[in-house]
């Protein structure tokens, strides 16, 4: 076998490189950056996999995809089988293959990672998922069991809501998703840009749910249009996955100047509202110099969007150093290639404006890393006397999001923690009978795959609950 040969030779092969759109071109368009592996490249990469018996990669995957098995199928050019294995554990692989932080999960635990040559599980996942999207006829049709007669309401159509809905529909339950915005997908739609996750993929996944009989109603703001108690009355169970849609303010002077945006607003204007397209009415300033504050995926998405909107100078301002940045490694690499400037160890003190109320710069404080804080990361501390200014016509605050209180404020009986996140047990059950929750509203800003994992786990718990309970919970 080839693997044996490689092992004897002491060569593990080189990790495959993802073909990308040329960075000179792509920093001016919104087309997807990663082009996807060719079949030959995918097969060659799959054949590098050592098929470890212990499969540490699986332990790193929040939904425990049988990674060695699907990779073995790719290596054997049995793509339909690979797709079946993948889809059995992950309902949205075309999305996860593009946005999961693989380096912290499956690939981080790959034994070849020690040589810096971890199997490109994410690329392979994307390859198989895209293959499956192109060859629906080769996948076994989903058999939907007899209708259970039970009805479940889902709040929010982000990854958690979509996952729970798909799982429950496959169990025969009637599912209706209520979405506050006019379109589906949550952060997948309004947050993550087209160049990283084409919206066509979100559309296909949503269409697949519709085929399973899931009903999605947009423009329904739970807590306003309908209340949680009413939903409980009208359904046998409720799953809440309304995300972490509340921007954290910087609380520094100048924050309300024109041209200062939360990342949520900046990205929503561009992604959900289509401000980057000529034929969409929603405006967005296209400025020469844009500064984005933060070091996560959201910050990278915002700064790379700014470049594509025409910024000559697009800057990431982060108060720790690059090593502490929570963004996916690939996003940081892409941002740099696209000409984004990284100003590290710097905190904003004040946003400066002109006499028309427009932002024109930032006053910044240089920082250095001190002792580790409770999160284990080294705490940034100011370097005395080192204050400087940066020019900017747009400033985007991407320091984080919290729990949006709109729904929870109208459901005071629902148990929350002190940050306003919904409290659940290990199955996703809240303190209210028949009410479950998952995703960012439970975890705070986390990841797509964790949200999906929550949805999957809760679907199991909801199914058990529905089988146990006779009627609707008494209010």
């Amino acid at each position: 076998m080839k693997n044996n040969l490689q092992r004897e030779n002491g060569r593990w092969g080189q990790r495959v490189l993802m073909p990308e759109q040329d960075h000179h071109l792509r920093c001016r368009n919104f087309d997807e950056v990663n082009l996807g592996l060719s079949e030959e490249a995918a097969i060659a990469e799959a054949r590098r996999c050592l098929q470890c018996k212990s499969a540490p990669c699986i332990a790193g995957c929040p939904v425990a995809v049988d990674i060695p098995a699907f990779i073995a199928a790719v290596a054997g050019t049995r793509m339909a089988e690979a797709a079946r294995i993948l889809l059995a554990d992950n309902t949205l692989p075309a999305i996860c293959g593009r946005v999961c932080p693989q380096e912290e999960q499956c690939e981080g635990l790959c034994v070849l990672d020690r040589k810096g040559q971890a199997i490109a599980v994410g690329y392979l996942e994307r390859f198989v998922a895209d293959w499956a999207l192109r060859h629906p006829e080769q996948l076994a049709p989903t058999v939907i069991p007899k209708a259970s007669g039970k009805k479940v309401a889902v709040v929010g159509s982000g990854p958690a809501g979509l996952t729970v809905a798909g799982e429950l529909a496959r169990m025969g339950h009637e599912v209706i998703i209520y979405e506050a915005l006019h379109d589906t997908g949550g952060v997948l739609r309004y947050g993550i840009p087209e160049f990283r996750l084409p919206k066509e993929i979100v559309d296909i996944e949503v269409a697949r749910l519709a085929q399973l009989g899931v009903c999605i109603e947009c423009n329904v703001v739970v807590g306003k249009t309908i209340t949680l108690p009413k939903m409980r009355n009208e359904h046998d169970a409720v799953f809440i996955a309304n995300g972490a849609g509340l921007p954290t303010m910087l609380n520094i002077p100048g924050e309300n100047l024109k041209g200062v945006f939360s990342a949520n607003e900046y990205l929503t204007r561009v992604n959900l509202m289509g401000a980057w397209r000529q034929d969409h009415a929603t405006p967005i300033p296209r400025s020469r110099q844009v500064v984005v504050i933060g070091g996560g995926n959201t910050a990278m998405d915002a700064v790379r969007t700014a470049r594509r909107l025409g910024a000559a100078r697009a800057v990431i301002l982060y108060r720790r150093s690059e090593a502490e940045m929570p963004a996916r490694i690939e996003e940081i690499k892409h941002a740099k290639e696209e000409g984004v400037e990284f100003v590290m160890l710097t905190a904003p003190l004040e946003i400066l404006g002109d006499n028309q109320g427009w932002v024109n710069g930032l006053r910044c404080q240089a920082m250095r890393l001190g002792e580790p804080d409770t999160s284990g990361r080294r705490r940034p501390v100011p370097v005395e006397g080192k204050v400087f200014e940066l020019e900017a016509q747009v400033v985007v605050n991407a320091v984080g999001t919290g729990a949006n209180p709109l729904l929870t404020a109208t459901a005071p009986e629902l148990g929350l923690n002190r940050w306003g996140n919904i409290e659940v047990d290990t199955t996703g059950q809240t303190n209210l009978a028949g009410v479950f929750a998952g995703g960012d509203i439970v975890r705070g800003g986390a990841t797509v795959i964790l949200a999906m994992g929550d949805g999957k786990r809760a679907a199991g718990a909801i199914d058990t609950y529905l089988q146990r309970c006779k009627g609707r919970p008494l209010m």
């Binding site: 506050a180 915005l181 006019h182 947009c218 423009n219 329904v220 703001v221 306003k224 249009t225 309908i226 849609g245 509340l246 921007p247 303010m249 924050e255 309300n256 100047l257 024109k258 041209g259 945006f261 939360s262 949520n264 607003e265 929503t268 204007r269 509202m273 289509g274 034929d279 969409h280 009415a281 929603t282 405006p283 028309q356 109320g357 949006n404 209180p405 709109l406």
Partner: protein
């Protein structure tokens, strides 16, 4: 899709739309608004819910065409539909028994004021309504307001209807009359008008509530684009408002932030056919 049941012209470029939205009709309260998108390429535009008919499952919107998006909304014919209507959003008006209340409306603000004034009157308050506009055709809902107000005072800038002058002069007179002086003032209209009303009531310490109209997107507190400064705090108008204590509102900031997309708006307007453009420009002046 949300069907248009009625579309009538109330004043130049001001339409009353009756829209089928049963869920919203059932639960909306005075002071709340909806977010509307005319078509799949449209902006999300906040519009106050003027009235609702629970039995018919409809809501009433008063819309003034001041830009391309609102123009598109008012030009949706009966039988046609709006792509999206989400709500009811925002906090409901605090309706209490204040006693004597003055409701002051300027321009389209009168339409926003209408549901509040009605609810205040229904709660047993003695409502004096003062409404103003540029000239007679711009005076909205006078008869409707008359139905429950103790008195409706109309002011026009050119004197073509009611008293000549601004709403503030009429309010000042009311305040100076000890038998009429309001305990609370509700003011809705253009920012300069609301600011002027607040300056008038501030020295007298008359509680004054204003309804703010910043630029919004989601209307659920997710984007922070609608932020306004109230006292020492930054508030999100879509969830914390849209009504606030007028004496604490930073009107300069509000005016600034409302002008954020002026250039884009002008560009969009310049692409309209001349006739439509002229209509809008006249209204805006």
């Amino acid at each position: 899709m949300f069907e248009i049941i009625e579309n009538t012209i109330l004043a130049p470029n001001v339409h009353r739309l009756v829209v089928r939205a049963p869920r919203i009709a059932r639960v909306r309260q005075p002071g709340q608004f909806v977010i509307v998108r005319a078509d799949v390429h449209g902006e999300r535009i906040p519009l106050t819910i003027g009235d609702a008919d629970m039995a018919a499952g409809t809501i009433t919107l008063f819309v003034q065409a001041v830009g391309t998006s609102t123009l598109q909304i008012v030009h949706t014919p009966v039988g046609g539909a709006l792509q999206d209507v989400a709500g009811p959003l925002g906090s409901a008006t605090e309706i209490e028994q204040w006693g004597r209340v003055a409701c002051v409306g300027g321009g389209l603000g009168t339409a926003v004021l209408y549901p509040l004034a009605k609810a205040l009157a229904e709660a047993g308050n003695e409502v004096t309504t003062i409404i103003g506009g540029r000239s007679a055709p711009y005076i909205l809902l006078e008869d409707e307001l008359q139905a429950f107000s103790r008195k409706v005072i109309v002011t026009t800038e050119d004197g073509s209807h009611g008293r000549q002058g601004f709403v503030t002069a009429a309010l000042q007179e009311l305040m100076e009359d000890p038998r009429r002086c309001p305990a609370v003032v509700f003011a809705v209209g253009p920012v300069p008008m609301m600011r002027a009303v607040c300056e008038l009531t501030r020295p007298e310490r008359i509680r004054t509530i204003v309804s703010l109209n910043p630029i919004m997107i989601d209307g659920t507190g997710m984007c922070g684009g609608c932020r306004v400064r109230v006292g020492e705090e930054t508030k999100f108008a879509c969830v914390d408002g849209p009504e606030f204590d007028g004496h604490l509102v930073d009107f300069k900031l509000l005016t600034d932030r409302l002008s954020m997309y002026r250039e884009e708006e002008c560009r969009m307007l310049s692409q309209l056919p001349e006739e439509l453009r002229n209509q809008i420009v006249t209204v805006r002046r």
